[in-house]
Amino acid sequence: MAKISIEDLKRIKERVKGTTNLREGKFRVKITIHMGTCGIASGARKVMNTLLDIIEKEGHTDIILTSSGCAGFCSREPMATIEIQDQAPVKYIDLDENKIKEIFASHVIDNTIVEKYALAHGSELSG
């Protein structure tokens, strides 16, 4: 069985100290990758991998990465939903590794929605 070494465990404990946000369910940003059959077949795992890489390298502790099923819009997969605390969620479509990097830098870090990759912005007007 593959096990975490004692040194690595110590290192984890050292680094995690004081950054217990994720454990307590408090986070600033929630990113959901849609991983239905359609999403997986069109490259959602690559998008997830890219995000994992960035979060790991830049050491963000206030972002939660998760996945959900088909969003009902299979032809525009891979899709991701980005939810910044107290703001409306934004759905991004037709993603790839480069687009998600751009979205991460702009939306997640600088709080500026990347409209050109978003499915829709704002809500429809009635009447």
Binding site: A2, K3, D8, A41, R45, L65
Partner: protein, 177 residues
């Protein structure tokens, strides 16, 4: 699907939707028998006989508001292309076990793909679910169990970026994958 690791990710997503808390994945490659055998065992809500008979029908799904479900049909297609066989056994309330046997040397057999990435994706997305993964390749094997990793972590979340970094390192060392 391009490779087997993506099929695994897709099928395990089904197990999770079925409410599984413990999912056992095993993959064995054997040059001797020229077979690749993939089994996925979960403790989800299982399927009735009627559901089992329709499981690989692309125009049948248990999801509401949906008209088709392609995960299992795609896997079945990938298996049959190599002259292999897909069997699913289940009872309502008693989980499900899926076994896909591929002919290893068949030209249409999909590559294994990036198993590490499938495991990392699952751990990141579903920290509360226990995954075990066993890989056998002739005489070598690799076993990985997130329940045991969690018991080492003493309450730190398994999807914490620092932990994921170490798990990634751990998986990278394994030549079998």
């Amino acid at each position: 699907m391009e490779d087997l690791s993506l099929h695994i990710l897709d099928i395990v997503e089904n197990s999770i939707i079925a409410g599984s808390k413990n999912i056992e994945i095993s993959l064995s490659e054997s040059n001797k028998t020229d077979r690749i055998v993939l089994t996925i065992k979960d403790d989800g809500k299982g399927m009735t006989n009627i559901e089992l008979n329709q499981a690989t029908d692309p125009f049948v799904t248990t999801k509401e508001n949906k008209r088709f479900g392609l995960g299992l049909p795609l896997l079945e297609q990938a298996v049959i292309r190599t002259g292999g066989k897909l069997t699913i056994t289940s009872k309502p309330g008693a989980g499900l076990e899926l076994c896909a046997t591929f002919k290893q040397s068949h030209i249409d057999r999909q590559p294994l793909g990036d198993i590490r990435m499938t495991l990392l994706t699952l751990i990141t997305s579903y920290p509360d679910v226990n995954f075990s993964y066993k890989h056998t390749k002739d005489k070598n094997d690799f076993y990985f169990n997130t329940k045991e990793i969690k018991s080492q972590l003493n309450g730190i979340n398994i999807n914490n970026p620092e932990v994921l970094k170490i798990i990634r390192k751990l998986l990278k060392k394994e030549a079998v994958l």
